[in-house]
């Protein structure tokens, strides 16, 4: 560089001193990429005194700017191009400006052509905004947003599982744990409902009470575990014999109840006989031998007797069951007002 050049540059340098009073990083390049101004803010950020930079090639201090992505666009400014933008996302640090903790200021830069001292000449004015806090605010917002979304997913999943669990709990509350049949409590709920329906619509409702004969002996001889196997097996046999609209429940220890909506005493009697035969014919295998059990069945239906409560209907079936036991077990007895005669 000759002395007259550096003299005019020093003059412009003095003109640019106004930029020392703004909180934006400003520096200016001449057309040969030499630094001709570096404001106070840049001194602070980059931690470089301007005296050590003025008049020297920018690429000597910041070689990364020599890449085409920067150099070409800066050259465009010197040939009269419009202001160019270097965003913070695509170029985080045009001029590295360290912060405490090893981080760097995130920068948003605009490069504008300004008239140089000589006619037709253009200098490139870099103005750098510090967008560190804005970027950090956006990042932490995005982080929170992501966390919230993740939390919502977890909650949604938990809600789904809770729903499933509730279905299971509800199902369990109406089931007998051993046989999987409906339990005593649920039997009565359905019994009361079906009884009302039968009365209102004038249709029949039949009830079977099935009691395994001498079941205590099975338990005593083969053990309770085998007894449980028999109870489960009998439950399955009964289930197989009835329609899907009928309800089979374990009424008590070795006693089962079957509600048969829309079924007459005759129809229920036939069904009961089928069940009795199926139980009698079934062979349960214990460790030592094959075991057979039998059942006594009491049958009652509403038509013809008009019981005035569900309990009455049950009493009628119980009555018939008692009669079956009295007459030697392993038989079906259909309730009639003068049973056993």
């Amino acid at each position: 560089m000759n002395s007259s050049d550096s003299g005019s540059e020093l003059a412009t340098h003095r003109d640019y001193r106004l930029f020392d009073h703004i909180p934006t990083g400003v520096f200016i390049l001449s057309e040969d990429f030499r630094i001709i101004f570096w404001n106070r803010c840049m001194e602070e950020w980059a931690m470089i005194e301007r005296e050590s930079l003025l008049g020297s090639d920018i690429f000597r201090h910041f070689p990364h700017l020599d890449a085409p992505r920067y150099r070409k666009r800066i050259a465009d400014i010197f040939s009269g191009g419009a202001t160019t933008v270097f965003s913070s996302q695509l170029h985080k640090h045009i001029i590295p400006a360290p912060l405490p903790g090893g981080k760097f200021r995130i920068q948003y830069t605009m490069v504008t052509g300004i008239p140089a001292g000589i006619p037709g000449g253009i200098h490139a004015l870099f103005s750098i905004q510090d967008v560190t806090s804005l970027t950090e605010a956006i990042n932490s917002y995005n982080l929170e947003h992501r966390k919230l979304i993740a939390e919502m997913e977890v909650r949604k999943k938990a809600e789904g599982e809770l729903k499933k669990l509730n279905v299971i709990l509800k199902e369990r509350s109406i089931r007998d744990g051993l046989t999987g049949l409906h339990n005593h409590r649920h039997f009565w709920n359905v019994m009361r409902r079906d009884f009302q329906l039968a009365v209102r619509h004038g249709i029949d409702l039949a009830l079977l009470l099935i009691d395994l004969d001498l079941f205590k002996k099975v338990n005593d001889v083969y053990g309770h575990l085998f007894g449980d196997t028999v109870l489960k097996g009998v439950g399955k046999i009964i289930l197989k014999s009835v329609r899907s609209t009928d309800m089979v429940s374990r009424y008590g220890g070795e006693e089962f109840a079957v509600l048969l909506p829309g079924t007459s005493a005759d129809g229920a009697g036939v069904l009961a006989e089928n069940i009795r035969q199926a139980i009698e014919q079934h062979c349960f295998k214990s460790a030592q031998e094959k075991v057979r059990v039998t059942a006594s069945i009491g049958v009652a239906s509403m038509n013809g007797h008009k019981p005035d409560s569900p309990q009455k209907l049950l009493d009628m079936a119980d009555n018939a069951l008692y009669c079956s036991k009295e007459h030697g077990r392993n038989m079906v007895v259909v309730y009639s007002p003068v049973p056993g005669e």
Partner: protein, 211 residues
């Protein structure tokens, strides 16, 4: 040159001949080619920039591009002054803007909309494209411009392009642009809005060029 008007593309107050429009298309394509080269310098992933259409539209036709009332557009603007003056605006519908930034930065956006950081990226990309297109017009027609600072806006199209009361006198050139990054296709529109008298100057300059 006294070119025969084969078909008058009469829009607003100005008439452009097919020859002039062809010339303009060529200039715009050169500019867009330069923009693509510049974007490719900057990004690791190759980008293709196409101009499927350059056409004149009437001010009323802007309605067609403004979408639903609630739809917000992202827009990078550059004002230019010189023998012909006006404003160039690259406009993206919101979904395209997010898609473009995501493709360019290889980051999946956290939010459905653009945040401030993403807006900065869009500002830069738009700035490169518009500078190259307008810069090339100035260079080829040998009419240097004074430029305003780039401006990034987000909002309803009509508000963004805030064409004034005498807007009917403006001539609007529409440059449809099509970005292809990472096999993603993104459409944006450049509206170059010329002030009434300057459009004649532009046409005269184009005529001179082909004399």
């Amino acid at each position: 040159m006294q070119s025969t008007v084969i078909s008058n593309l009469k829009r607003g107050h100005n008439v452009i001949t097919l020859l002039q429009l062809d010339a303009f298309r060529e200039i715009v394509n050169i500019g867009v080619g330069r923009a693509a080269a510049s974007l490719n310098d900057m990004l690791d992933s190759p980008i293709v920039l196409e101009v499927p259409e350059v056409t004149m539209i009437a001010y009323e036709d802007l309605e067609k591009f403004s979408g639903t009332a609630s739809e917000s557009f992202s827009c990078v603007q550059l004002g230019f002054r010189g023998p012909f003056s006006g404003v160039a605006a690259l406009v993206f519908p919101p979904a395209s803007a997010v898609k473009l930034v995501a493709a360019m930065t290889a980051e999946e956006p956290d939010n459905p909309g653009l945040d401030g950081v993403m807006a900065g990226t869009l500002n830069e990309i738009g700035n490169i494209v518009i500078n190259c297109v307008i810069g090339t017009i100035g260079n080829i027609l040998e009419r240097p411009f004074d430029f305003s600072l780039p401006n990034y806006l987000h909002g309803a199209l009509r508000e963004i392009l805030h064409v004034g009361a005498d807007s009917a006198k403006h001539s609007i050139l529409l440059v449809k642009t099509h970005f292809i990054v990472h096999e993603k296709h993104i459409d944006g529109n450049i509206f170059i809005i010329f002030e009434a008298s300057s459009f004649d100057a532009l046409l005269a300059a184009i005529d001179q060029l082909y004399e």
